[in-house]
Symmetry: C2
Subunit: 257 residues, 2 copies
């Protein structure tokens, strides 16, 4: 079970899971306010979901704003994510080569600490981001999302393995359950991946049915969980304070006899 | 997913899991104080682990004390349990026919609302208790414990099925995990049993490793969880207040979108 690392150093005191709050505002001003408010809730990192940002087409502004968001959050590590519309993100006015160029600019300026790219992106695109993150010492999250269903545990494990093969520092899988058995399948695959792979992994089962996974995932090897700040970025995210309270109970229980 | 019932009525508002606090004091005076203190923590029922009671050999006293404990706890339902030393209980000066006679006396006096007998007890003993509980309208829990290991999920499911075949109103399985995978196996079997059987089921993975199951078991069909009052009766039990706090978070999350 590996914790999330930034610049090679574990965050959240090396404990699983690190708690991340997504930033989903549309304007720079609203994002700065959202980052400052999120920081007060005590997360371990923030994720900027840049596909929500109205200025995503202005590269220099995005790069500068990323650094400002980190500063507004008191220096919390920042995860930079353009979620594709195919995997649940917002439609944006950039094509994929432009998205790649944006990631490369972010990496070169080191204005984020981690970046997220989808496993199913063009392999050349993934490789180029991998090269940019390595050069800049940025943590690469390779992710997979399915908002409709939960593939069998064996397929989920294969997604984690693919993230590792593609050079991820963190493999992330977020899927929608249709039954409680699907929630257990996600936890099982996350646990197996955390044992089998030399990278950090993050697994989450979405929606109300899967919300329990956001609390207990860390017990089964998940290095990262998302809690809602001003707004959730995916279904089933709990308010950060609630998430923290439940994690504290589990932590004390795991330390008990 | 069936809730725990007493006299045919669901307890804990029909929600899963009902929270039970064990009473483990050795004297009548200490037990009455323990019951009153436990009731203040807001459990849904109490379990009297009568194998801890120094007066277990005096049937009339046990029967009267059971009723007094229920009264001391403001009328909370009382689960009456003699745990055998083979399954983690205390040594007692009664032989099995004497234990059966004690259960029959408790049922006849209706001084408990539920009673727990082990699945692996003598089948004639189980049948006799079954008859006594049916005659008295008392809920029968048939239980299995393994303090060393967790059998495979298929075997755990078979224990639940056996509890049902033997006439249980509630099938309970409590096992010790040696890995996180064992915790998932217990949750999986509990979930499958809750779907497959027409009775309430309760599943718990013990110790620090399994403590998470005491919080999330209800999400996977477990109708009953144990939280420590003055003292725990099995390894991994959380303080009731902590357990309640974590359950409240999960409940709000399950109601979220």
């Amino acid at each position: 079970m590996r914790p999330l690392t930034v610049q090679g150093r574990p965050i959240a005191g090396g404990r699983l899971p690190a708690v991340c709050v997504p930033l989903v505002a549309r304007t720079a001003q609203a994002l700065l306010a959202e980052a400052a408010a999120a920081a007060l809730q005590g997360p371990d990192l923030l994720e900027w979901r840049v596909d929500f940002f109205e200025g995503i087409g202005r590269t220099d502004e995005v790069v500068a704003l990323a650094a400002q968001l980190r500063a507004a959050a008191g220096g919390l590590p920042l995860l930079f994510t353009r979620r594709s519309s195919r995997e649940g993100g917002q439609p944006i006015p950039l094509d994929e080569p432009q998205v790649l160029a944006l990631y490369q600019a972010i990496c070169q300026a080191r204005s984020a600490d981690l970046v997220d790219v989808e496993i199913e992106a063009d392999p050349a695109h993934v490789a180029a981001v991998r090269e940019a993150t390595r050069a800049a010492g940025i943590t690469l999250v390779l992710s997979f999302h399915d908002f409709q269903r939960t593939p069998p545990a064996s397929e989920l494990l294969e997604r984690f393995r693919r993230a590792h093969r593609l050079g991820a520092d963190v493999g992330k899988v977020a899927v929608m359950p249709q039954s409680r058995a699907d929630v257990l399948a996600l936890l099982q695959a996350t646990w197996e991946a955390s044992q089998a792979l030399p990278i950090a992994v993050a697994g989450m089962s979405m929606g109300a049915l899967g919300a329990v996974s956001r609390v207990v995932g860390g017990e089964f090897g998940s290095a990262l969980t998302f809690g809602a700040g001003q707004a959730a970025s995916a279904p089933g995210q709990l308010p950060v304070a609630d998430l923290r309270a439940a994690l504290a109970v589990l932590r004390s229980a795991s330390g008990a006899s």
